[in-house]
Symmetry: C2
Subunit: 418 residues, 2 copies
């Protein structure tokens, strides 16, 4: 069963747009044990579109074609596919009624341009579109199954779930299971070196893929094959244990959750509260912690003390200390963490101060130098870090390291420093 996804639209061959629908479609297919062999992106010129469709029909058994079903002149997918299949387009009054009703509910007359959406390829089944005017179509030929789907995500995704996936059940290899392990504090190439023995012993049917941004790595294990489910899980368990042996110390999540969610979960579990004092991260740590629903239960506040005056006024960092050591220094980080803990009344005080760049670096305190302090009931621990990359990367990596230090301080065996 070879599958091709064809995304149609002139915007998709510009530098500004990406086809993201195909990721969701692929996930749905993987879940029933099917994989994607090809993805094609093509503009809406008749000749190119016809070429892309002919190629897909020749090399794939199932073609999922999306986009170009709208009411404008440029929307030509329906017409081009009919021509490539040498089938007529048939007018369906029932579709016209649905579109009319849709306009009526909004108090508008149906536009004449929508009439073209009422045509169906001869022999196709109509796939209802509750979220837009263009219905989908399901066509079977001697060699191919073809789904013709609208482009907007809120139209295609429900239609794919409801009308396409059920038609594919039983065609797949039966079963898919996946696991996402996330790491921080390790470089990408160091991870790849350590994973070599894991790749070597990957059991059949399982694929290992990795995804890396500076400060955050993901290892994804996917099983695709025959049942039973317990056997698939056992294979993933075995591989996860091998991953654990290779990179265990850097793993912060075994279920795909982000670091802010893991830290939030630990705080909630232990009934603790946190407050932050952020300088170079500019509010990013507070922003990340508050992306998690319900975070108001444990997140009290963040003092984004960018100016030195704010560090002194809000956190009680002595002006003389800043004067003597500089705002980017271990003593100031420590004073910030202790200060935010004291003034907020939180159980944990987390502080970050550093040089995000691109300006502001010196020979002694270069861009990327960041101090992070975690204060608890037993005092504060400070870590000196050095991050590479541009301003955004330095900020992100700082937030990641800071959250990870909090995570480590909350593990069953608490860190000694706290």
């Amino acid at each position: 069963m070879r599958i091709e996804i064809v995304a149609v639209g002139s915007e998709l061959v510009t530098p500004d747009f990406m086809d993201t629908n195909s990721l969701r479609l692929t996930a749905g297919l993987n879940d029933i044990g099917l994989g994607v062999a090809f993805k094609t992106v093509v503009g809406d010129k008749d000749r190119d579109l016809a070429s892309a469709l002919r190629t897909a029909l020749a090399r794939a058994d199932l073609v999922l074609c999306m986009g170009g079903l709208g009411p404008t002149e440029d929307d030509r997918t329906r017409e081009t596919l009919a021509r490539v299949l040498r089938r007529r387009l048939v007018f369906r009054a029932s579709i016209r009624e649905k579109i009319r009703e849709r306009f009526r509910r909004r108090g508008w007359p149906m536009a004449a341009s929508n009439l073209k959406q009422c045509y169906v390829i001869a022999g196709a089944e109509v796939l209802d579109n509750p979220n837009g005017t263009a219905p989908g179509q399901w066509v079977e030929t001697r060699h191919n199954r073809i789904a013709l789907l609208p482009g907007p995500p809120h139209e295609i995704l429900p239609m794919f779930e409801k009308d396409v996936l059920p038609r594919l059940k039983g065609l797949g290899r039966g079963l898919s299971a996946r696991r996402v392990i996330r790491l921080t504090g390790l470089g990408e190439s160091a991870m790849e070196m350590r994973l070599k023995p894991v790749y070597a012993r990957t059991p059949s049917g399982v694929t290992v893929t990795t995804l890396a941004v500076p400060g955050d790595l993901s290892i994804r294990l996917t099983y695709t094959g025959a049942g039973p489910a317990a056997a698939a899980e056992a294979r993933l368990d075995e591989l996860e244990a091998a991953v654990e042996r290779a990179v265990g110390p850097w793993i912060y999540s075994r279920d795909g959750r982000g670091l802010e969610e893991v830290v939030g979960g630990l705080l909630r579990e232990r009934g603790l509260t946190i407050a932050c004092a952020e300088s170079c991260t500019g509010g990013l740590i507070g922003h990340r912690l508050t992306e998690v629903p319900g975070s108001s239960d444990y997140f009290l506040e963040s003092a984004v003390t960018y100016s030195n005056r704010a560090k002194t006024k809000r956190l009680g960092v002595p002006a003389a200390l800043i004067e003597r050591c500089g705002a980017v220094s271990a003593p100031v980080a420590r004073a910030m963490a202790l200060g935010i803990r004291r003034t907020s009344g939180a159980d944990i005080g987390l502080a970050v101060t550093g040089v995000a760049g691109p300006g502001g670096g010196t020979a002694r305190k270069p861009v990327g130098l960041v101090y992070i302090a975690v204060a608890g009931g037993r005092g504060a621990a400070v870590e000196r870090c050095s991050f590479a990359g541009g301003r955004s990367y330095v900020k992100f990596q700082s937030s990641q390291k800071a959250l990870d230090l909090v995570r480590k301080s909350l593990r069953p065996r608490p860190a000694k420093a706290l």
Copy 2:
């Protein structure tokens, strides 16, 4: 001149990865007046890869093929392309020397697996790769020009700029010019309705594309065609004037800059400082303002006062006021903005308080209800907003609206309320 980009890699047909290189390649091609007709993504199975390459060579004049040049078993692009072209692979000792030297600098021996990277398709030119072990290749045949490029962005992008684009100069339609106009405060469908007359009068050679996320819209005007440059700019000027007539009140940027950068520029220009008091945005406004290099010149601090206690302690919002009106209310927003302005000493105090969801909403104060206040020398103005979408979207739209209110207060004609 028809161009196809082929991205090779098994990870690219999973739900986890997207080919983003092609966007940068497309931008570079557009800049010299070339457009992309097809993009294909294919895994690293020999049969699929050969099929994708044959198709590309048959329908495109120029094929940019990336990925699959690494040292592992799975990297088969070089070998497969040679087979499809019916050309031999030739060993080049000079490549081996470069790879050896690369390893030597890191203190490692060259791995045997890297030997396959020393083979070049007969007749190809070698494209130097200063950022990795796999060199690129440039192949010309009777019908095609082919660039074989490595997959990692930091390897392919410099190589594309330095060795591929110069080989394509003169093949394009000569000239490309683009302009990015950004808007906020308008819905996507409202924008599309208003732009209809603009689409109708788009001059030849110019394309208009739009990109929308809730709270941020972009309109991109691209001219591709023959020179002179002044004529291209004149066409874009004309179209930009039409866009201005259609959606002028919502435009915040005519040069693609983000709202945080526009606001930062206005603050710097007018020699003013800002401080924020954030509740539901959780630090996002501070984070966005500090993404701009040099923002420490005008951004003093942000008090992320998530808890009511913090609102009272940090900003002096009377506990009785919170008790009486609720933390999400116009009086509290106003008190927060005045409070942060007073305590920070900034010229402008910006405050946001709202219900980000998914929990915490009530009939009177539903999820998405947000109050935003801007305080200046003449008092504070409060705006009541209602945003749709999940937690992240509510936070982003709140930050966007807040920054836009500051922008409006800083325009040549200052807002009355300040």
